[in-house]
């Protein structure tokens, strides 16, 4: 299967690390090699956040992705920062609720989705991250739908179990978009 090298990038608080974790769990469930690496720095509310997630059939070398074949950008600075790293033929998923300039590159596929607005309209505030995971799945089929559902169940901590259903709705919202 295609090696997935995904960078999730945006503001802290948008759930990018969690979205990455869901994808990583999906890899774990399907018994692939998996790595998840967050950016870390001095703790600051509202700062930028990103994580690298690799799903592969080979042992993973560096978990730090320098050449993603998939980018999920949830704000303008992240798009600017990572756009040119995406390998030709790769995909860029943009939350156009928050990003007003789309990538100009023609050698990548661009998927524009008003994920934040979609989530808010569906009363799923704060779940734009999972809407985008749904879209990523739809366009790449990196795992089965059952797997990603199971991954959500695993990634949501037990004390927040009430949120599983909303995450599943957000997933479907993005998948069907």
């Amino acid at each position: 299967m295609e090696e997935m090298r995904i960078v999730f990038a945006g503001f802290g608080g948008q759930g990018l690390l969690f979205a990455g974790k869901v994808v990583a769990y999906a890899g774990l469930i399907e018994d692939r090699e998996v790595s998840w690496l967050p950016s870390y720095g001095p703790e600051m509310r509202g700062g930028t956040a990103n994580c690298s997630v690799t799903l592969s059939d080979e042992p993973i070398g560096s978990p730090l992705i320098m050449d993603p074949n998939n980018l999920i950008a949830m704000n303008q600075p992240s798009l600017i920062k990572f756009e040119n790293d995406v390998t030709p033929g790769g995909r860029i998923f943009v939350d156009t609720s928050l990003v007003n300039r789309l990538p100009e590159r023609t050698d990548v596929e661009v998927f524009a989705l008003e994920a934040t607005n979609m989530a808010e309209d569906a009363e799923l505030k704060g779940l734009a991250n999972i809407v985008l995971v749904g879209k990523l799945l739809k366009e790449t089929s990196f795992c089965s739908y059952e797997t990603i559902e199971a991954a959500i169940r695993k990634a949501v901590p037990p004390r927040k179990a009430a949120l599983i259903e909303k995450n599943l709705q957000a997933l479907k919202l993005g998948y069907d978009a």
Binding site: A24, Y25, L28, S35, W36, Y40, I60, G61, P63, M66
Partner: protein, 354 residues
């Protein structure tokens, strides 16, 4: 082994240590090892153990000294600048022949440095983490699973040889998540008749001490300890080899940089270059024997590190003049890329053709 879960390296070390019977953790917050301490703070009370946030790294390692003297499986964790502060206590622990586990999730240095991943404490860990004649076993895991496995086994090694043991990781390994199968909890912990638990009127008194005012006595004590080190060197070396059997160029790398080197070696093989990866898992004792064996066919060595060139000293001590030993590294928290390492391998390969 249980079902695989996704865990950060820092958390996997912590959980594995608990499963190895460690019930005492003394530490002080520092990035990028914080998750380890936070995990302990959450779990220890539920295991009837102790998590104590000390007033400083200095105090933390001396609490470890006390708890180790009292016979407990005990550990501390920190990152580079904090480990420097611990060096006093580590020297006393080694001098008093006490077992414990010390984790260093390295960041860039010197000084306050950066908080990004680094391997620039190799010399400190393998040569002199503190004053005096001593060494300690140093493990360098390269995956989250290996962090769990080594943390689990480290307490046995520490108890067996009555020595401090270090796991040398870095910010990348500590922060990253990978699937990990955790080991089963240990129940058969060794007896420690030497521990200062109170003699209860049933034995002679025990003393934990590193002071010898008589020079000859101290010399004897050090000689005895170094005899144990010889046993460790003979029996505890660990390394992994990837495509080394017919390799002409052997890339030597440990921990996080070995992951990058692995990708570069794979790419080099795809280009037809006979490259292999030699990965030390024990940094002390350095896997001299296995590296020595590669000298029969290797034409060049390349040490890849996240520092200015530290382990390369040990590689040169083994290889001597049998082949050239080159170095490639990035430092300060910069992570080398497989492409950079591949380029270096190509250069060496071209040199071999001349």
């Amino acid at each position: 082994m249980s079902e695989k879960v996704l865990m950060k390296g820092n958390e996997a070390i912590a959980e594995s240590a608990i499963r190895a019977g460690c019930r005492f953790f003394f530490g002080y917050p520092i990035t990028p090892q914080t998750e380890l301490a936070a995990y302990m703070a959450k779990r220890m009370p539920k295991e009837g153990g102790t998590y104590l946030q000390a007033e400083s790294e200095v105090a933390a390692i001396n609490m470890v000294y006390g708890a180790a003297a009292a016979g407990a499986r005990v550990m501390t964790s920190s990152s580079s600048p904090g480990v420097s502060l611990k060096s006093e206590g580590v020297s006393y622990i080694a001098g008093a022949d006490l077992p414990c586990l010390i984790i260093n999730i390295e960041r860039g240095g010197p000084g306050l440095g950066s908080i990004q991943p680094s391997q620039s404490d190799y010399w400190q860990a393998t040569r002199a983490l503190g004053h005096g004649d001593f060494q300690m076993v140093v493990y360098a895991p390269s995956t989250v699973q290996e962090m769990a496995n080594l943390a689990y086994g480290a307490f046995d090694i520490a108890d067996k040889y009555r020595t401090p043991v270090m796991i040398l990781g870095d910010g990348m390994l500590g922060q990253m998540m990978e699937p990990v199968a955790l080991p089963e909890p240990k129940t058969d912990l060794p007896e420690k008749p030497w521990a200062t638990t109170g003699h209860q009127g049933k034995r002679a008194k025990n003393i934990a001490n590193s002071l010898y005012l008589d020079a000859n006595e101290l010399e004897q004590s050090n000689i005895e300890r170094f005899k144990r080190y010889e046993v460790i060197k003979a029996t505890e070396q660990m390394s992994e080899e990837v495509n080394c059997d017919d390799a002409e160029i052997i890339v030597v790398a440990f921990g996080a940089s070995s992951r990058i080197a692995r990708s570069a070696v794979r790419a080099a093989r795809e280009e037809g270059i006979k490259a292999g990866l030699f990965r030390p898992i024990t940094l002390w004792p350095f896997p001299v024997d296995a590296l020595e064996a590669t000298k029969s066919h290797a034409k060049a060595y390349l040490s890849v590190e996240m520092n200015m060139g530290q382990m390369v000293d040990d590689v040169r001590l083994v290889v001597r003049d049998s082949a050239p030993v080159e170095f490639y590294g990035r430092t300060g928290g910069v992570i080398p890329t497989p492409v950079e390492v591949l380029e270096k391998i190509r250069q060496i390969n071209e040199g071999l053709g001349e």
